[in-house]
Every structure is written in C-alpha cells, then in structure tokens.
C-alpha cells in the first residue's frame, strides 16, 4: 500500500522534471544526440518570429495555432527552457486533475494515488514535456473539461472545449459524446448533477447501469436533443473556436488556415510510421487516390467512433479513452506522441476495471510494448541499416493494430461500465409511479 501524500508525489515529480530539463540542456550542448525534441525548436523559432512582429508560419513545419507560439514568446527573453517548464507544469496539472476527478467520484485514496503515479512516473509521459512537446497542455485542458462537466459547469467546459479544438483538432471527436452526456435527466439548469460514486462491487455497478440504460443512446439523443445545456455548449464552444480561428485568420491569412487546420485534416505521410496505411500511401503517392479509396480508408474510423460513442457516451471518461485509442489506431499517420492522448485518460478508467495487473494487465502491457518494439526493430533496419524491409515493417504495423484492437476489446470486457451521473430522485420517483 502506497502511503505517499499527493503533495509529496507532485513535489517529487516536479523536482524530477526540473532535473530532466537541466540534464537535457547539458546533453544538447555536449552530446551528439540531442535530448530536446526537434518540434521544440520549431515552436521556439516561431515564437521569436512572433515576438518580432512576424508571422510564426515563416518557420517551415510550424503547424500549430499561433497560440502556442504566443505562449512560448518568453523563450526569447526569459530562457529558452521556458516552454519546457510550461509543458512540464501542465504535465503536473494532469496528475493533479486525475486525483481531483477520482476523489470527486469517491475512489479510495490508494487507487487515486496509483492512478496519479501511473501518469506522473510513466517514462513516456515525463519525457514528453521535458523534451519540449506541447501535448501535456492538451491533456491538462481535456481533463479540466471533464472536471467542469462533472461539476455541471457547462459554460466553462464549452469555453475550454472550443479553445482546445482550435489548438489541436483531434478533440473534435469528443463533441458527440459530450452532447449525449449532457442528458437532461442529469443536467438540469441551476442544479449540480449527481455523480455516481465508485464501487468495487461489479454487481452493484451493473444494477445501477440497468436502471438507466433502458434505451439506446440514439433514441435519447433524438428524444431530447435541443436542451438548454446542449445548446449552450454548442454555441459557446463554436463561438470560441470561430473567434480564435477568425482572429488568427485575420492576422495571418490562408497560411494559418492551411498550416494549423487544413494540413491536419488532410494529412497523409508516405514515410514509415505505425499506421497500417503508410506503405499503401507510399506505393500510391505518385497518383491521386480515388474517392472510393479515400472513403474505404475513412470508413473503419468513422464506424468505430460512432459505435463507441453510442455505446459508452454516458460513461464519458471511458468513452473518451476508447475513442482516443481507436482514433489513434485507425489514423492514417501514427506517431509516438499521439499515445499520450489516451495515456492521460487511462488512469481515470483503471479504478473501474476488474482486470487485475497480475497477470492479464501485465500481459496487455507486454503485448502493446512488444508490438511496438517489433515495429521499431524493422523500422531500425530500414532507417539505420538501409535494408529494404518495407513489407515486414508494414506487417509489423498490422500486428500493432491487431494488438491495439485486442487490448481495447479486453479493456471493454473488463470495464465496469457505469454512467458518470445518476438521476435526480424526483425524476426517478416520477418515472416509477
């Protein structure tokens, strides 16, 4: 049983991250292989351009919102490590928000602590921020949106949601589950929604589940689509998104729209990456893909997202997690930084999983890491040894998708599905009479 206090965990994590940043700076100066992510240099260059009144898009490969460059302007006059400290601080906020969300749902202290540790001491996640990758900011805001929603603060949730979709397009996949989640049975204007508390009894969880899940979510949506909460959420988030986008379009024109938004919507990369589509794209790069081919590659993503939303939207956090895993797995381009998108939600769903670490959990971890390592080995042979192993690398991508699919199915099977909210008692009474 871990007896560390949350404050101590956060303090140790903070010291560790500061140390990593300093070691990283030393490594960059004295060693051939840099610690800092190449993207960080892109952000910093874009920030200096912005600081001198120029467009950040003069920096080639800067494909983010100008907001990011704005946040990193102090890199030019305080310290070039400012951005890394900012991202690492966001990383710590993710750990804090994990605890806040779980405590609000009455998860026992030890499980909360384990969940915090899974994020804060995951080697993948603590290197992301300290190397200068901006994903921790996105993760922190996503979790803050969850906190706002579970506290019934729709206006604030909508504001941050509009902002984060402008900042990083992928959270757009959460719009439908959030809309479904804002069910009028739970969200009543002026009343804080009632949270379903965590329970270790799967039988009790199913009982709660069956009281509420008496119709499919599609029917719920059609029955009461235009509620106050939903309209408010849509209007505010849409307005924030359009305002930010419009403002930066006014400042930077089509270059901003293309680099920060359209590029991500249409991105295909022929270079090798974890996606099963990379070799298909490379083999067909010299010709335009037909509409049918584009549709066929988009359909799996679309179908999986729709089904996951309709099945799990009421358990919003779990829905976010499975959607993100599937979104990454079926994407046309997969790079390692995308994994952090679901890593930040994973600690929030584990207290509701009846899968034990020994041995099923451990097998899943080893399977996922094994499939990744297998891919990396072929990637190493291609990139660093110059061997033509495109076919083997593509097969490793297929295996990686298979591993992701299998693990996702196992997590779905072992999840104690339970809506985040329960009905208000007066509504329940009305229904049973």
């Amino acid at each position: 049983m871990i007896s560390l206090k949350p404050r101590s965990i956060l303090l140790i994590s903070a010291i560790f991250r500061v140390g990593l940043i300093l070691v990283g700076e030393w490594q960059d100066t004295h060693m051939e292989v840099r610690y800092t992510d190449v993207d960080y240099l892109v952000f910093s260059d874009a920030a200096s351009l912005m600081a001198s009144g120029q467009s950040p898009y003069k920096r080639t490969t800067y494909r983010y919102s100008p907001l990011l460059a704005f946040l990193l302007i102090p890199n030019s006059f305080i310290s070039r490590c400012w951005g890394k400290f900012l991202f690492s601080a966001s990383d710590l906020f993710v750990g804090l928000f994990i605890r806040i969300i779980l405590k609000q749902r009455k998860v026992p202290d030890d499980l909360c602590t384990y969940s915090m540790l899974i994020w804060l001491f995951n080697p993948f996640t603590f290197t992301i921020g300290t190397r200068g990758n901006c994903e921790p900011i996105v993760c922190a805001i996503i979790l803050w949106i969850i906190i706002c929603l579970i506290n019934g603060n729709v206006v604030q949730a909508a504001f941050w949601y509009g902002l984060i979709v402008h900042f990083r397009i992928y959270p757009i996949i959460y719009v439908l589950p959030i809309v479904i989640f804002l069910d009028p049975r739970f969200f009543r204007y002026g009343t804080k929604p009632l949270l379903s508390d965590w329970t270790s009894d799967p039988g009790k969880a199913r009982q709660i589940n069956s009281e509420l899940i008496d119709k499919c979510a599609v029917c719920d949506v059609w029955k009461s689509t235009f509620t106050r909460s939903r309209i408010l959420f849509g209007l505010i988030s849409g307005t924030v998104f359009l305002l930010c986008t419009g403002f930066f379009f006014h400042l930077y024109g089509w270059e901003f729209l293309h680099e920060a938004l359209l590029y991500h919507l249409t991105r295909t990369d022929a270079r090798h990456n974890f996606s099963i589509y990379f070799y298909h794209i490379y083999l067909n790069y010299e010709r335009e893909l037909s509409v049918l081919e584009k549709l066929v590659s988009f359909l799996p993503q679309f179908i999986v997202q729709l089904v996951l939303i309709l099945c799990f939207a009421k358990d919003l956090v779990f829905c976010f997690f499975v959607q993100t895993v599937a979104f990454v797995a079926f994407n046309k381009v997969i790079t390692a930084q995308y994994f952090v998108w679901f890593f930040c939600v994973l600690p929030l769903i584990l207290p509701w999983s009846n899968m034990k670490l020994k041995w099923k959990g451990l097998c899943c971890i080893l399977l996922w890491m094994g499939a990744q390592t297998h891919w990396l080995l072929w990637g190493y042979l291609l990139e660093f040894k110059g061997k033509n192993v495109f076919l083997q690398l593509w097969m490793a991508s297929l295996l990686f998708l298979a591993a992701n699919t299998f693990i996702l199915i196992v997590l779905i099977r072992h999840h104690n599905y339970g809506p985040v909210f329960r009905q208000h008692t007066d509504l329940k009474t009305t229904k049973t009479t």
Binding site: H30, M31, E32, T60, T61, A205, R206, N209, I213, D214, K215, C216, D269, A270, R271, I276, Y277, Y279, H280, Y282, L283, N284, Y285, E286, E293, V296, S297, L299, P300, I303, V304, V307, L308, C311, F312, A326, A329, F330, L382, E383, F384, G386, K387, N388, V389, F390, L391, W394, L398, L401, A402, T405, L408, I409, I412, R413, H415, N416, Y417, G418
Partner: protein, 255 residues
Amino acid sequence: MKSYFENYESLHDSSFEDFMAHQLSSSLCQGIPDNWNVGVRLSVRELSLVGEGSHRHLSSSIRLQIAAASIPKLPAHLCEVIVIQRLPLGVFADPFELQNPHKHKAFRDIAVFGDTNLELPSFQSNRSAVEFHIDAGFNILFMQNNGTEFNLLLPLDARYQPLDESGYSVVEIGEPDMLMRCSVEGKQHKQSCLFMSPPNEKAKSTSATVAWKIPAGMKAHAGFLSVITFVTALLSTLSIVYASMFLSGTKVSKT
C-alpha cells in the same frame, strides 16, 4: 547560393554552372593587376559516404594550394574557403542538424539553400545545396609546400525514393564546388575577391562521385497490400463493434 536563388527558382546543374562561370567571374576583383595571380588550387582529395541507412555523412577532404609567392600578399585573416555541395534529388541536408554547435563549431557559417522541406519524397521535391564558409587564415599562414587540407563532414538524410522493381534506388553525389574569398585593398576601396581553380588545371580527385543505395518501395507489392490493409482494418472494426455491443456492460435490459 543566396544570389543564385535570387535569380533562379530551383537548382539545376546547367543553370548553376552558368551562374558560377559568368555571374561570379564578373564580380571578381576589379582593377587588380592581371599579373597578381595567386595560383589558387582547390581540389577534392577524397569524397566518401560514411555510415549506414537513411542518415549518413558525406566526408570531403579538400586541399587548398596557393603559390608560395602569393601568400605574403594575401590578407590571410580575411580569407575564407567557400564550399558548395550540390545535392541530388534523393537526399537533403537538415538545417536543424547543421545548427548543432557541437559538430560544426569549426565553420564560420553553414547554410542550406533550395528545397528544405524534410517531409516530401524525392519525386515531389526539388534539389538543395549546402554552403560552407571556412576560415582559411590559420591554414594559409602555416601552409606547407603541398598545401593545406580541410575536412568536411556533412550530415545527409535520404528522401523516400521513387518505386523500383529492385527494391533500391541509387543516388549519386558529385564533388563540391569550391572557391576562396578574400577581402583585399583595391585601388579605391576594400573589395571581396574570389579565387577559383582554373578549369584546365583542376586536379582530379580519387573518386568524382559517391553512390548511395537507398531502399525503395516495390510496385509489385501494391495490389495485394492494399487489399490486406483494408481487410485488416475491416476485421479490427468489426471486432471492436462486436465487443462494444455484446461484450461490454452496455447490454440493453429487457425490464
């Protein structure tokens, strides 16, 4: 190279050679006595590719020779050797890597010109060139009879190549173009003088080009690969759909 790209959109050997021959020679020292022949000889003693895979280094050993009588006349501390390495379509130099101070502190300046888009495959990209400026002062002052040598190590990355039945594509990298620039006192004011090896006296290096064999996709894979990719995606989709609807806790209860 900056001047070249101000006049031309992309790098072509013929345009560049014309540029070097006519544009630069017209800017050589004005009003300098014709008999002031510094006898500059710049040659590539060795050219090789170091490393394996998609990230290698082009190693160039360059010899600078100057007629002994001319050395005292030269303002050695104001001379630099300029090396321009033109790169073929299949490879590029990453400007980010060239900024690494640990590796390139010996150079006064390094810059990449042309297509610096790192992401495009070779059949969608244009050529690029890397320009080095090396301080030659120390080397000139202490030059031996057989000249002085500079060693360059240029990090290169391979682009994705056009498809090839053999599974590999061969890219050839030639010798760099080289000249020396000195800032000398002219009749009226200081000016930049450029010195190049006379074409007919250019020493032959041991290897004029180096060949880089880069893996390429094979068209023969295209047919079955697309089918298997989409079938795999479909099977994964169906599995997840089935699990979500029938294996999760979201069963519809018939009460």
